[in-house]
Symmetry: C2
C-alpha cells in the first residue's frame, strides 16, 4: 500500500504538504491540493481516518442528534439536516445522524463511544436533560435551539420572538385585529416546554396586547387531517377571526382544505399566514400560503460552524445567534374583510 | 480511566461478557446487558470505538450515499433514511449520511478515507458509475435500487414492474380504459436512465398493451407548481383520459389543485392514483389521494441488513429482494365516468 512518502514523491511536494492536504491542518493552494489528490488517487493511497483519529484523539466525526419527536419529518427539518451535512463536509468533518429520543441516557451512550468529537442538539426543550448530560461528559456541543436560560451555551436558533411580532404586524398592517394563533400540539404535550412553541406563543401574546388586541390561540396535531379538523374548530370557537397565524407546517395544507370545504375563501374571508414552515410545504396548499419561512439551511450551517469553531479552538467567545424567519410571497393573506359578521 | 476489567468486577461478570456486550459479538441476556451498562456508566467507562476499530480494522460505520438528485426531499426518502439509521443502530452500527452527487470520483473520495466499513447506494441509475468504482475499491456495498443488470449485486428495491401493473389493474377494474401516466422529469433529463422512472414506464406500457389499451405518458418537474401546470397539459393533450397514474410525489398536490381549478371533480370526472408516494404526502392533497405507498421504511431496514450481513460474513448468497407498493385507501379513485365526451 502506498505511503505518504510515495505520494509526496509522486506529486513532487514535501511530506509536510501531503500531510497538510490530508489533514486540513494548514491551508494548501488549490493547485497543490489537486496535485496531491491526483497522486493519492493514482497510487491508491487510503487516507486512514481511523489511524489519524487515534493519533490525534480526534475522529472528525460530529453527530446531529436526530429529532425523534417529529417522526413525520417536515420540510423544514430536512433543510436543517442537509445543510448541516454539507457544511460539515466542507469543513473536513463527517456528520452522523442519530435517531434517538430526547433522553439523557441515550445521549451518554452515544458520547461514551468516543466516536464523535462533538454533538449538535436539535429539538431543544426549555429544561433539556441532554444538556446537563453533555456538560458532565465534557463533550463539546452546540444547540440548534435554546434552553430556558441558554446564556452559558453555544447556540443558534430562530428568533421566534421577532418573527411572531412581525407576523402579527403583517396582519395588522392589512387591517386585521382579530388574529388567532394555531400551533403544534407536540409543544404542550410531548415536551415539557418545547422552545419554539413556548417562545412563539409568548411573543404572539405580548405583541397582541402591546397593540391593544386580545390574543387567542389553539392547537392541533401535526397532520393534514388534524389541520382539517382544526378548521372546523376555528369556525366554531373563533367565528370573529379574520386572520390566522399557523405554526404547524404539517397541518397547514389540511387546515386550508378544511376552510375551503366550509365555504371560506382565502384570503377574501380569512387571511392565513404560515410561520416557520418551508416554502416548499407552503406551496403545497391551495392557495399557496404566504409564509414566514424558516431559515433552516442557514441554521444547519451555522450550528455546524459553531461546533467546529469550538472543536478547533477558534471560538474566542460563545457563539449565540438568532435568525428571523423571512416573509415570502403567497396568496393567502390580504386586507381584512369588512367586519360584517 | 476505567478498564474492561474494572467494569467486569463491578458488574460481577466475566471480562468476556463485558466484551460481548460492548462489541455485540455474542448475544447477551437483557439483564446482563443492563448490569454491564450500569457498571460502565457508574465507572465512566468509555467504549473506545476508535481504538477498537483500529484493532479490528473495522469502524462499524456505514455510509448512506445521499440522494443529491432530490434536493427537495420527499416524504418517501425521509422514511428510507430514518429506518436505515434506526436499523443500523440496532445492529451495533452507525449510519453516516453523505450528501454527495451520483459521481464516481466523490464515491472514491469517501471510501478511500477508511472511515466506513460499507456503503449503501440510493437513487441508482441504470448505468451507475458509482457501482464500478465501489467494486474496484473492494468496499462492500448494497443498493436500494437496481442497475440495468443487477444480477451480480446485492440489492433491495421497489418492485416497480408489479406495482405499475397493479396500478393499471386497479383503474381498469373501476372501468377505466384511457389511463395516462404522469411521471417525474428528473428521470428523463438529469439521469441517464433512472431506474424507478424507466422501469415504471416500461411496465405501465406493457400492462396497457397486454390489455389492448393505448399507453400515453407525460412528465413534469417535482414541484407543486409544476404539478399544477401539468393539470392544464393533461386537459389539453389528453382530453379523453378518465384515469391518471401519477408517480411524482412532490407534484401531486399541485396537480390535484390544478384540476380542481379547471372545474374537474375528483374522482367523479377523473380518477387519480398516486404511486410510490408516502401516505403522509398523499394526505396533503384535497381530496386525499388514493396511493400505492412506497415500502420505504421496510426497504431502508432491508438495505442496511443486506449490507451488514455481508460485512459480518453471514451472506451465504446474494440478497436480492423486491417489495411492492401497497394500495391504500383514499378518495381520489372511483368508477370511470360514462364516456360522454
Amino acid at each position: 500500500m502506498a505511503t505518504m512518502q510515495d505520494v509526496a514523491r509522486h506529486a513532487n511536494v514535501s511530506i509536510a504538504t501531503v500531510s497538510f492536504t490530508i489533514n486540513n491542518t494548514k491551508p494548501v493552494s488549490p493547485a497543490t491540493r489537486a496535485k496531491v489528490e491526483a497522486a493519492m488517487q493514482e497510487l491508491g493511497f487510503r487516507r486512514n481516518v481511523v489511524g489519524r483519529a487515534l493519533a490525534s484523539k480526534r475522529t472528525r466525526i460530529i453527530a446531529l442528534l436526530f429529532p425523534a419527536l417529529q417522526h413525520s419529518f417536515s420540510g423544514t427539518v430536512v433543510h436543517f439536516f442537509t445543510s448541516a451535512a454539507a457544511a460539515a463536509r466542507e469543513l473536513g468533518y463527517n456528520l452522523v445522524l442519530w435517531p434517538i429520543s430526547n433522553d439523557a441516557g441515550q445521549t451518554t451512550e452515544l458520547t461514551s463511544t468516543g466516536l464523535v468529537d462533538g454533538v449538535i442538539l436539535m429539538e431543544v426543550q426549555f429544561d433539556d436533560p441532554r444538556v446537563e448530560e453533555l456538560e458532565k461528559s465534557g463533550t463539546p456541543f452546540a444547540l440548534i435551539g435554546r434552553t430556558r436560560d441558554p446564556s452559558a451555551l453555544t447556540y443558534v436558533d430562530i428568533n421566534f420572538e421577532d418573527t411572531l411580532a412581525a407576523a402579527v404586524r403583517h396582519l395588522t398592517e392589512l387591517g386585521h385585529s382579530r388574529i388567532v394563533l394555531l400551533d403544534d400540539a407536540v409543544g404542550s404535550r410531548d415536551l415539557e416546554g418545547f422552545g419554539p412553541v413556548g417562545r412563539s406563543r409568548d411573543s404572539y401574546e405580548t405583541e397582541m396586547r402591546r397593540r391593544g388586541l386580545e390574543p387567542a390561540s389553539f392547537t392541533c396535531e401535526a397532520t393534514p387531517r388534524a389541520g382539517k379538523a382544526a378548521a372546523a374548530v376555528l369556525l366554531r370557537n373563533f367565528p370573529q377571526a379574520t386572520g390566522v397565524i399557523i405554526q404547524n407546517e404539517l397541518a397547514a395544507t389540511g387546515f386550508v382544505s378544511g376552510l375551503r370545504h366550509a365555504g371560506i375563501e382565502i384570503p377574501r374571508d380569512l387571511s392565513v399566514l404560515s410561520v416557520g414552515s418551508s416554502a416548499e410545504m407552503a406551496a403545497m396548499a391551495d392557495p399557496e400560503l404566504t409564509v414566514m419561512s424558516s431559515p433552516s439551511t442557514e441554521l444547519g450551517r451555522m450550528g455546524v460552524e459553531a461546533l467546529i469553531d469550538q472543536l478547533e479552538g477558534r471560538a474566542s467567545e460563545l457563539r449565540q445567534e438568532l435568525v428571523m424567519c423571512t416573509l415570502e410571497g403567497g396568496q393567502s393573506t390580504g386586507p381584512a374583510a369588512t367586519p360584517a359578521h
